[in-house]
Structure formats: C-alpha cells, structure tokens
Symmetry: C2
Subunit: 113 residues, 2 copies
Amino acid sequence: MEHSSQLLKGVLDMVLLALIAEEPSYGYEMVDKLQQKGLELVSEGSIYPLLSRLQKKGYIAGYFVESAGGPPRKYYRIEKSGRQQLADWSEEWNRLSAGVGGVLDGHNGGNHG
Amino acid sequence: MEHSSQLLKGVLDMVLLALIAEEPSYGYEMVDKLQQKGLELVSEGSIYPLLSRLQKKGYIAGYFVESAGGPPRKYYRIEKSGRQQLADWSEEWNRLSAGVGGVLDGHNGGNHG
DNA sequence: CCCGGCTACCTTGTGTAATAAGGTATCACG
DNA sequence: CGTGATACCTTATTACACAAGGTAGCCGGG
C-alpha cells in the first residue's frame, strides 16, 4: 500500500474544503481536480464520506444541479463556518508542515527543494 | 481530540527516522526533541510501537547504553536502507505538502505565510 | 528499609480515517 | 435492450496515533 495514503490522513477534509472554497464543486469532479493538483491517489470512496461529514458539521452545503449527460450533480458550496474552519486548519497545517520540514532539514543540513 | 493528531498520521515514522538520521537517540529523548521542533503532541505511547516497526523493517538498529541516573537507554541508529527510505519519504512528503499548499493557496489567491 | 519521584522502557484498548470493492441510477448510442 | 460513461453512496478492512496502564532502575528523605 502507498505510504502517501497515510500522509493524507487528516489532510483530505481540509483539502476538499479548500477546493470548495475556490468554487462550488461536486464529488466526481473533485477527484479530477485533485489529480491535476498533484494529489493523484484520492478515490471516490474516500471523498463521499468526507463530503457528508463536512456537510454534517455545517462547513459546506449541498445542492443538486441538473447535468447534460448524466445524473444530477451534487454541488457543494462553502459556508461561513467552513471558511473559519479552513483558516484554522490552514494555520494548523502550516505549523505542522513547518515542523516536519524542520526535522527533515536537520538530517542533511538544510535542503528540501 | 486534536485535529493535528490526524495530520500526523503517516508522518511520524518519517519524522522519527529523520531524527535518528541526525544522530542516534532513544525514545524518551525523542519525545523531548520533537517538542522542541514544534511537534508538541507526540507521546511515548505513539513512538515506541513506531520505533519497533522501523527496526523490524530494518531501517534502524537498536542497542542499549547504560545511563547515569536511570535504567539503560535503548538507542537507535539509522541503517543504510533507512537512509534510502528517508530519502524516498522526504520526496513523497515534499510532493504532498506542495500539492496541499497549492490547493490551500487557491482559496485566497496565494497567501500562506 | 520503604516510599515517592524521575528516568526509561513497553503493551493493550479505543477512536479516527482512508481504501477497496461493490451497489444504484441517469443519460446516450446502437 | 445492452453497454459505457457519468455520478452518487455504502460496507468491510486495514492502518495508525493516543490514552492509560504496567514494569523497572536509580536517588533522596524519613
């Protein structure tokens, strides 16, 4: 199994929220967007439960939109509390990734691309 | 529960490996080092199983060293395969954190400092 | 000697979370 | 009607960190 999958833990919800913050989107499309952004390993099975969780917490709101060639799409848009949560998570992420980056730097004297 | 805990998933093993790569260390001390580096929430219960796992995979090797005021310490040093693994994980981490950073940037036009 | 506190190790039970695999339904094409 | 693409959702599995608890050596005070 990919180690990256494990790295994603606790990150995916934030990433999804950020994606929706940019512009409303639906599950099937988000998988695609994420791949384009470099997060290639995200699968549908992972994001639908997440989207439900996010909605249940009030961070996003879902609404159906008719599609030309397929079933209706369930779009999500970000709510006010979602923006706040995203800001909090972003800070948390920045702190953590800085910490990890620092430890990683240590082992070779300061070089991480 | 802290969301940060979830962010750590799949990262802790890499961080521990990086720490040991800098210089050999033992569990009890690593908790302390991690706190100084900004990863404040790591507890003993989390790292001992990880250290065992890392050793079992051959990335690190353990050896006991007598201590002045306490029981002997179990130091770990990094092995060759551990260095290789660390390099791989580092790259993986850099890719992922860049990807996440990119998505995070998107929602406000490029600001994460 | 016994106790409390510090160092230092390790294990078990619990909760969170992503994945793989599978299921439902709509629309287009032949 | 069957096939394939789009699009949604759920269940069983597996991985992982954490909290709590347990063992044990060393030291100082009573």
